[in-house]
Amino acid sequence: MDIGVLLVIGLALAFDFTNGFHDAANSIATVVSTRVLSPRYAVAWAAFFNFAAFLVFGTEVATTIAKDVVDPARHVLTVGVVFAGLIGAIGWNLLTFYLGLPTSSSHALVGGMAGAAVARAGLGVLQEEGLRKIGVFIVLSPLLGLALGLILTLVIMWLFSRSERAERVNRGFRRGQLVSAAAFSLGHGGNDAQKTMGIILAVLIGSGNLRADAGVPLWVVLAAHIAIGLGTLSGGWRIVKTLGSKITRLQPVGGFAAESAAAVTLFFTSSAGIPVSTTHTITGAIVGVGASRRMSAVRWGVAGRVVWAWVLTIPGAFAIAWVVEALIGLAG
């Protein structure tokens, strides 16, 4: 394995680490704000289930990233192209982090890979069917999370509306949040770590280290899950320091419903091989919980920015990766 391949694998794992770091708040916000777990234990809980996800999920999402975005039969995904794709995704994430746009690392990765491959070999290398699946679920996954969050909240309200022991019910959902937070962290680890596996698989195939029909090697699966788990652990420590005022106060029942709805959405999309944004999915589920009361409970400014992120992310990362690959081509 040459140094270029190792460099790209290292960059992909760094991308995975930052994904865990960035998304740690999604996994632990509700359990911490409802004081079910202390921040320290919540972070460890989320990181453990991020890692354990490799025992639950297959590698369908990784296969979609590696083989359904760019046609593997065209042998376009060389080390340079994957490197340019990763730089496009990371560059877009940094730019939007600066601008405060809640963009998805997953969509940036797809846009980056596509942009670099098109710069190298033209539009014909893109897999229309795979891109269509990813594009449709950019919109559908938050809407699925929203509908499930809303329906679950309504069912819970209906089941417990006549309960005279509100305190006992609340205590039950506080415990339930341990399970829902674990399930969401499993879904997050399952879907997001597989995107990194897909990148590494693509570069291993492109560099001739694996055959085009190869599956994801076990060491790649473990490395991707370790990277995202460590990222969550590190991101969580940062959050521990700044906690308190930044997290909105939530009722245990709402946290339970939102996490469960997002987890179900992530379990479904992961098993169907669809890379989705975990951030957008949990955002949709939280909006669903808020909508069970009234629409003014929803922070529409945040929802509007998510829509902008949908529209801009893939073209933005595509453009950066296209330029980087073109520069690599000129230098080569």
Binding site: K133, V136, V139, L140, L143, A147
Partner: protein, 68 residues
């Protein structure tokens, strides 16, 4: 009908319906199912609004009678 949920659910249902032909054939059931779910949610909100309006009117009439 000034509850924003009604319009939001209708727009969501329309977005899901528009995505049906674009979805891969084996996953087309997802936008179909979601479109139906959002239409049902919009209908429930509309029913709630109609019911609430009826209650408000009855209350207003009752209040007027008691004052008379």
């Amino acid at each position: 009908m000034n509850d924003r949920r009604l319009w939001f659910f209708l727009v969501a249902a329309m977005a899901c319906a528009l995505l049906i032909p674009a979805a891969p054939a084996d996953l087309r059931w997802v936008p179909k199912m979601l479109a139906v779910v959002y239409v049902v949610l919009a209908a429930l909100v509309a029913l709630e609004l109609v019911g609430r309006r009826g209650e408000d009117e009855a209350e207003a009439n009752g209040g007027g009678d008691s004052r008379a």
